[in-house]
């Protein structure tokens, strides 16, 4: 009996406890394995070590030439950011100059080796684009650096909404004639990058001198560059994606070269600046760009006047039919003043020059000493006719017209000025001294300038006239390098 009561007592004690306990608690709590990030062993990445430049200092090419940096299109860079490229250019004997006034562009491109445009924000006008195209057609080199981290942001006046104006907007009209497009995006790589996903490595290269000696380069916030006919120079791996569609396009990369080999586009210029210029093979790439910029083979023609001479001294030779009158001397002095701005001086010589740069003064009257300068142009100076027959230009009236004949050879460049009279020769000299041939009709290496009344000529098709150009400065800009 007592035993039964004891069980009842225990049951009475436990039932409420169990009832309440089981009412609330009916299992063991979930006990997951807890792991936390291994913070202590995380390390900050280091940039890849600079690899040696395969071209030692003593082997650096001495190229000379001028690299003209655009600073007239609200360019989003500071000169200090491109110091490495300037230094590489100067190391090769070249000069770097910036242009802030687009009215000077045409004149400056007459003697520049390369025109370098960095992150432009203001649009290039149709005329400027034409001038640059003409420069590239002559063999000049156009290098465009865009940058995905630059560009301007403006705000809508009414809504206040931000309007992004990426530099690709201004860069593309310059590049599109050459089949190159700067995409309004940036490349990124989440798997393999240089310190941040937007700093992309490139280790596959288009075969070209620009990529000589490169094993790996890094660009820092680069647009992707597309080229339809040209060469993609820097290609990322499959995990390099474009921000436009988060996809990899093997036809796009960080840089491209046009089919004609004269136009180069980069999606980034941060790699030119410290400390990124020394990462991986970036220094080698910068050296190659400097070689490219100064490696231009711009074809010098009369259109490049006054930058048509190569030597520091130009010999002025008045032919036997020309007298050194006071007016002639004054005109030559005026020419001297103009040429001085190109670091060229003149020297009057009594013998017809056989080498070196020369300026020959003559009239339409044939003389033996003049023949060697006119013969290469097949010009018939026969006095019996009222016109002079000039190849490609047709028959030119003797009266009121002046002829310019430009000949290039290894020994030097020669410009021959011919007019019907001594007075008109002085007028022609004065025209030339103005530093501009905008009033003349130019065809390859022959030019015809109107220097008086009554002039006329019946020209062939295909002539070009500098008078169509705009904003031709009357003053020659001071930069001394005469290209050849």
């Amino acid at each position: 009996m007592k035993k039964n009561m004891l069980w009842i007592a225990i049951a009475a004690l436990l039932v409420p406890i169990l009832a309440r306990g089981l009412w609330f608690y009916h299992g063991f709590p979930h006990q997951p394995k807890i792991a936390t990030p291994d913070y202590q062993n995380m390390i900050v990445s280091s940039p890849p070590l600079e690899t040696p430049n395969p071209v030692a200092d003593k082997d650096t090419k001495q190229l000379s030439g001028l690299a003209l940096f655009d600073f007239a299109h609200t360019n989003q860079y500071q000169p200090s950011e491109i110091q490495s490229l300037n230094e590489a250019i100067e190391k090769r004997g070249g000069k770097a100059e910036s242009i802030t006034d687009t009215t000077l562009l045409e004149n400056k491109l007459k003697y520049a080796s390369a025109y370098i445009v960095i992150s432009p924000s203001a649009a290039f006008t149709t005329d400027e684009t034409r001038i640059v195209q003409s420069f590239v057609e002559r063999g000049g080199r156009l290098i465009v650096f865009a940058d995905a981290t630059r560009g301007l942001i403006s705000y809508d006046f009414n809504s206040g909404a931000a309007i992004n104006n990426p530099d690709s907007n201004a860069a593309n009209p310059l590049l599109s004639p050459y089949g190159i497009t700067v995409n309004n995006d940036y490349l990124y790589n989440l798997k393999k990058h240089e310190g941040n996903f937007r700093n992309v490595f490139f280790d596959s290269f288009g075969k070209n001198e620009l990529t000589f000696g490169l094993k790996q380069v890094a660009l820092y916030g680069t647009h992707s560059i597309k080229s339809t006919a040209g060469l993609i120079l820097l290609r990322g791996d499959e995990s390099t994606l474009s921000s436009i569609d988060d996809a990899h396009d093997p036809a796009e990369g960080g840089a491209a070269l046009s089919e004609n080999g004269n136009v180069l586009a980069f999606g980034d210029f941060t790699f030119l600046s410290s400390p990124y210029k020394n990462v991986a093979d970036n220094a080698t790439l910068i050296a190659n760009i400097a070689d490219f910029a100064l490696g231009s083979k711009q074809v010098i023609s009369l259109a490049n006047f006054p930058y048509i001479f190569k030597q520091p001294v130009v010999q002025v030779y008045p032919s036997s039919k020309v007298q050194l009158t006071a007016e002639t001397i004054a005109a030559i002095s005026s020419l001297q003043t103009s040429l001085r701005s190109t670091d060229t001086s003149i020297e009057i010589v009594k013998e017809a020059p056989s080498d070196g740069d020369a300026l020959i003064l003559g009239t339409f009257t044939t003389s033996d000493d003049l023949l060697k300068f006119t013969d290469p142009f097949n010009i018939d100076l026969d006095k019996s006719t009222e016109t002079i027959s000039v190849k490609n230009l047709g028959d030119i009236g003797r009266i009121g017209n002046g002829l310019l004949l430009f000949e290039k050879n290894k020994k030097g460049n020669t410009l021959t000025l011919l007019a019907d009279t001594q007075e008109n020769l002085v007028s022609l000299l004065n025209t030339v001294s103005s530093g501009s041939l905008s009033g003349c009709v130019l065809q390859d290496n022959i030019g015809v300038c109107s220097i008086g009344s009554g002039s006329s000529f019946s020209g062939d098709s295909g002539t070009t006239s500098e008078s169509t150009s705009t904003a031709e400065p009357t003053k020659i800009e001071a930069t001394p390098t005469a290209a050849g």
């Binding site: 009842i8 409420p16 009832a19 009412w23 609330f24 709590p29």
Partner: protein, 281 residues
């Protein structure tokens, strides 16, 4: 007379052997606490003030056995890196003892998702914003010196070279990524979720950064289930933890007309979602 005596003994016997133990049992049973599922709410960014508040609540939950599980209810864009990591590490200690479930109300972005990733289960509403995994930092200026400011080293004024700052940010990101990988395991595709994208709840469930569509009630039930309790009491941990008055510094900037902007007042390192404001200059 004997009959009366017998009845009286029976009553005493029953009282002694049944009623008394029953009463004692009831008294003991009443001391069994009703389980509590605590809610820790974060309806703000994560910065020193809110982080300390959360940590106090976490400590309370750890120290009090009646709190059997915790629900984190988020409407937060994230916050500073250091405060996020601080709360995260305290949460992992709590998680080792008690289940934690996340309920995303408006948003669990960036640092708030960092905290969520270490919990047992994540509920989001269909249009809650979830994700934005990553770090934002403002690079220091290019080192320079000033006539009127004397410092004792090139980085005394600026803290670090710009390049090393960038690399530090990338390392901090790795910590975040590891936390998410540890918390979410194979449910996520790192290539997708580590892009920094923010998703609405429905998509978040599809890509594995959340577990199910649900509300705070679902989260409470799930937390109770994981804790093995039922008929639980829900308590806002802020009330229990009796958080002390702390100095408060505004985290977000304010516009000239007094509106709160989504940008922090100070430059620094953040795990923060900063949405674009339409028309904001």
């Amino acid at each position: 007379m004997n009959q009366v005596k017998l009845n009286s003994e029976n009553i005493r016997t029953w009282l002694l052997w049944l009623v008394l133990p029953l009463v004692i049992g009831l008294i003991i049973a009443s001391s069994i606490p009703q389980p509590v599922v605590g809610i820790i709410r974060l309806d703000d960014a994560i910065y020193p003030y809110t982080a300390r508040d959360m940590i106090q609540q976490i400590h309370y939950a750890m120290e009090n056995p009646e709190v059997r599980a915790v629900v984190l209810a988020f409407d937060s864009p994230g916050g500073t890196v250091v405060d996020t990591e601080d709360v995260y590490m305290e949460l992992t200690r709590l998680h080792a003892k008690k289940p934690i479930v996340t309920a995303v109300n408006g948003m669990a972005a960036s640092g708030a998702y960092y905290l969520s990733s270490g919990t047992d289960y994540i509920y989001a509403k269909p249009t809650s914003l979830v994700g934005n995994i990553g770090v934002i930092g403002y690079l220091p200026p290019v080192p320079s010196i000033f006539e009127e400011i004397i410092s004792t080293g090139p980085y005394k004024l600026w803290g670090a070279p710009r390049d090393s700052d960038m690399r530090q940010i990338d390392m901090i990101k790795e910590g975040f990524f590891q936390a998410v990988k540890l918390g979410r395991g194979k449910r996520i595709n790192p290539d997708v979720v580590f892009t920094g994208q923010i998703w609405i709840g429905t998509e978040a469930v599809h890509n594995g950064i959340a577990d199910a569509i649900g509300t705070e009630t679902d989260a409470l039930n799930k937390a109770a289930q994981l804790a093995g309790v039922s008929h639980y009491k829900t308590v806002d941990m802020h009330d229990l933890a009796s958080t002390t008055t702390q100095s408060y510094t505004a985290f977000f900037s304010q516009s000239k007309d007094g509106a709160t902007l989504p940008y922090p007042t100070k430059a620094g390192l953040y795990m923060l979602f900063i949405p674009q404001i339409p028309g904001q200059k």
